[in-house]
């Protein structure tokens, strides 16, 4: 529905450290701009007003207006019974959320970052994901776990891990990861309406980014389907898959590649579980080359799964080995220069695409 041209309007840099709520309104051709933060906030607001069973839980979501200001204004609007400030007990409040979901309420549990979800992972996997199966369909768990995922800027090893691969390997969970404001709104609404547990992986550095959205996106019934990837940019030479922040990097790399005559097709996965294997394979059958990009650790990552899927289904269409671009296989270092090396950069995607197209041969894969 959105034309490819709109993607080229992204003006802001991706290196912001401090969150900035900037909204640019342009009144031409119905292209409004909203930040990802506003998109999430409006999605939560609309779903809470539509369904009184939806409530929010998490640290600092109420009076503090949200640790990253995603839940700003919701406490005033819906009151402390529906916007709950919890003590610092991830295991405790996640378990409470799951229990509430067993009885038909729809909690949206916020983790200040998904790193903290490790303290609650027993409830996410064992109590939430497996319950529908273990009870043979008697108990469904319409819960959403959301929060920022992946690396921010200079926050050290314990605050920078990407959990997409961990949660996506678990049957019973749905795992979504939005990129722009349209994704954020549509996928969060879909997640809240979904009767199954959904892990919703946002990105802290994208919260302040503005993206253009159409009127359809701003409508309160707007919803995106779970399990469908989006082709952000069409091309014919190489397929690049990415999710969350890496979509922005992939699009930038695609622009650089176009100047060299390589037309990359960029797929925004949107849904890590279920993975849209059909879109990915169709694209690979068209371009014959694949690069997967992710921010997390390389081993057993999202790229590994995509790679296996393509080799299984489209082996004879591949003209070059599949390349995985991932974070470095080390805990995130603190020093700024090391941190840059530990996370994929636009140049890495660019070089990998060129290698896949045999247009140049630099040495072995470097970060």
């Amino acid at each position: 529905m959105l034309a490819i041209a709109r993607q080229r309007m992204l003006g802001q840099s991706f290196k912001k450290i401090l969150p900035a709520v900037s909204v640019l309104r342009s009144y031409s051709s119905a292209a409004k701009q909203i930040t990802v933060r506003e998109a999430l906030n409006s999605a939560l607001d609309e779903e809470m007003s539509a369904d009184p069973k939806v409530f929010l839980m998490g640290e600092e979501v109420g009076e503090y207006q949200g640790a990253y200001k995603i839940t700003k204004g919701l406490l005033e609007k819906y009151g402390p019974e529906r916007v709950l400030d919890t003590p610092i007990t991830e295991a405790g409040f996640t378990g409470i959320g799951v229990g509430a979901a067993y009885y038909g309420l729809k909690p949206v549990v916020e983790f200040m970052t998904f790193n903290f979800s490790m303290q609650a992972i027993d409830h996410i996997i064992n109590s939430a994901a497996k319950s529908n199966y273990m009870s043979a369909g008697q108990i469904s768990v319409p819960i959403v776990f959301r929060g920022p995922n992946g690396a921010a800027a200079g926050v050290g090893a314990q605050h920078s891990q990407c959990y997409a691969a961990w949660y996506a390997s678990c049957p019973g969970l749905k795992v979504l990861s939005p990129y722009n404001s349209e994704d954020a709104r549509g996928l969060l609404k879909a997640a809240i309406r979904d009767p199954d547990p959904v892990v919703f992986l946002e990105n802290e550095l994208l919260y302040g980014e503005s993206f253009p959205v159409s009127d359809e996106v701003l409508d309160s019934s707007f919803c995106l389907p779970i399990g469908k990837a989006k082709i952000e940019r069409e091309g014919k030479d190489v397929t690049i898959t990415a999710f969350s922040k890496m979509v922005g990097y992939a699009l930038k790399a695609a622009e650089m590649l176009e100047r060299d005559g390589i037309y990359a097709e960029v797929i925004n996965l949107r849904s890590i579980r279920p993975l849209d294997r059909s879109t990915i394979n169709t694209s690979v059958r068209k371009t014959n080359r694949l690069i997967t990009v992710e921010e997390g650790f390389p081993q057993h990552g999202v790229g590994a799964e995509i790679c296996a899927s393509v080799v299984e289904e489209s082996f004879s269409y591949l003209d070059a080995p599949v390349e995985r671009i991932a974070g470095a296989d080390v805990p995130m270092p603190y020093a700024a220069n090391l941190e840059r090396m530990a996370v994929p950069q636009v140049e890495d995607i660019f070089r990998a695409a060129k290698r896949a197209c045999y247009r140049s041969v630099p040495l072995a894969a470097t970060a």
């Binding site: 314990q158 220069n337 090391l338």
Partner: protein, 432 residues
């Protein structure tokens, strides 16, 4: 110390993993009256329960010590709590903590420091009061608010500042950062970003000390561990699990709660069913003590008792220090939710000003002595910044170092040899 009065005491056997059942609670007098309703300000209750118990019969009881210490002091006016040397040492340590944190704020706003920085201004009395009583081999485990704990424990200011700048000369070579300060030499075990994460680690360090003494027969091993954490952590499951095990196995640990009444923007009173954290100690069989954390001398008195108990093998103690942070939770926190009247109240109880007043009034030091210390510390901090500025950033090869103690963990390369044996291994990176 008579631990017989300990109301909820359990086994008397040293280090038994299967203790006998607890002795009965035959001292009802010692338990506080059960409170089933929310009391509001912790300050109110503290004043009402302090009268009957003195310092030494504190085991197993819930005591508010601050007023007791005050009484003790006034009863014996000529004897002071500290000597001149001790006083100056305490003063210097607190000034170092304050000056260092203020410099951190400056450096952050100039862009030399980045990420999450949590400053300790206002809480210096707790760090100094406790850590200055420790030996080098005693361990300290802290949270993300760990700069001053590191400094008090003896990590050089240069090493801490370089670490914050992300330079290779930092105490963790720039790989840890503000929230992850480690020093094997000074037995500073971190530096944990996750709430409650340090408490089991500290309990484990205490376990090692006891194990070394009793199983490995290192008879003189009496190392004590201090675990520092905040009020928000006291609602976390790991806290309770460790209180239980530390008391069960009589581990040489002191749980120090730095109750600054706020967890980011969440007031302690809004998050806790019973805000008096010190009461949670006796529920698990250890003494629980509340102390005024803005007064370094009171903290030191309590710390002496608690650390002494641990060293003698009498088991853990829970100490709640009522303190306050003058700045926000971190440098990114706008700090809008705290009442300015509350901030002013605690600013008037600045621990450094209080100690200064004590030293001068009791003729332990002169203004000139203290000014000299101020100046010396200013120079130390400036020197630390210069050193950090001039230090190099980590080299590219450092990215892959220290992931494993045995780098064979990186596996066997395509040529059949271990990847770490290739001299060019660290030139690339480990990812595919």
């Amino acid at each position: 110390m008579n631990s017989a009065s300990c109301a909820a005491k359990i086994s008397t056997q040293p280090f038994s993993l299967n203790p006998t059942s607890p002795t009965s609670h035959d001292n009802p007098l010692v338990f506080p009256k059960p409170t089933s309703f929310f009391l509001g300000s912790t300050r109110k209750l503290r004043l009402s329960s302090s009268s009957k118990l003195n310092l030494h019969r504190r085991s197993g009881t819930v005591v508010a010590v601050s007023d007791v210490v005050k009484q003790k002091k006034s009863k014996s006016t000529p004897s002071l709590l500290i000597t001149k040397e001790e006083g100056l040492e305490l003063y210097e340590d607190m000034i170092l903590g304050r000056a260092f944190e203020d410099m951190c704020a400056q450096m952050y706003y100039r862009g030399k420091m980045f990420g999450f920085v949590h400053l300790y201004n206002g809480q210096e009395a707790v760090s100094t009061g406790f850590i200055k009583l420790l030996k080098q081999q005693d361990s300290v485990v802290s949270t993300y608010r760990d700069h001053v704990h590191a400094l008090s424990k003896g990590v050089p200011a240069r090493a801490v500042m370089s670490e914050l700048f992300g330079k290779t000369t930092g105490c963790c070579r720039g790989q840890g950062g503000s929230m992850h300060m480690f020093s094997r030499e000074h037995n500073l075990l971190g530096g944990f970003a996750f709430i409650g994460e340090g408490i089991p680690v500290a309990t484990g360090a205490a376990f090692t000390s006891k194990y070394k003494r009793e199983i490995l027969k290192e008879a003189d091993c009496d190392h004590v561990t201090l675990a520092f954490f905040g009020d928000g952590t006291c609602n976390n499951g790991q806290f309770f699990e460790c209180l239980n095990m530390a008391a069960l196995w009589k581990l040489p640990i002191v749980f120090v709660v730095e109750n600054n009444l706020w967890a980011i923007g969440m007031s302690h009173l809004r998050a806790t069913s019973d805000p008096q954290i010190y009461k949670k100690g006796p529920a698990f069989g250890m003494p629980g003590i509340h102390v005024d954390g803005m007064d370094v001398l009171k903290v030191r008195e309590v710390a002496k008792e608690a650390i002494g108990r641990a060293r003698r093998g009498e088991g853990p103690t829970l100490v709640e220090c009522e303190t306050y942070r003058f700045r926000g939770h971190s440098l990114a926190d706008p700090d809008e939710l705290r009442d300015p009247a509350e901030k002013a109240y605690y600013a008037a109880r600045d621990p450094i000003t209080a100690l200064k007043k004590y030293l001068i009034e009791n003729s332990l030091a002169s203004e000139a002595d203290l000014k000299a210390i101020d100046k010396k510390i200013d120079e130390v901090v400036e020197d630390a910044v210069e050193f950090a500025d001039e230090s190099p950033v980590p080299s590219r090869s450092q990215l892959l170092e220290n992931v494993f103690a045995d780098p064979k963990g990186f596996g066997i390369g395509p040529d059949g040899r271990y990847r770490c044996e290739d001299p060019k291994f660290t030139e690339g990176t480990a990812h595919v």
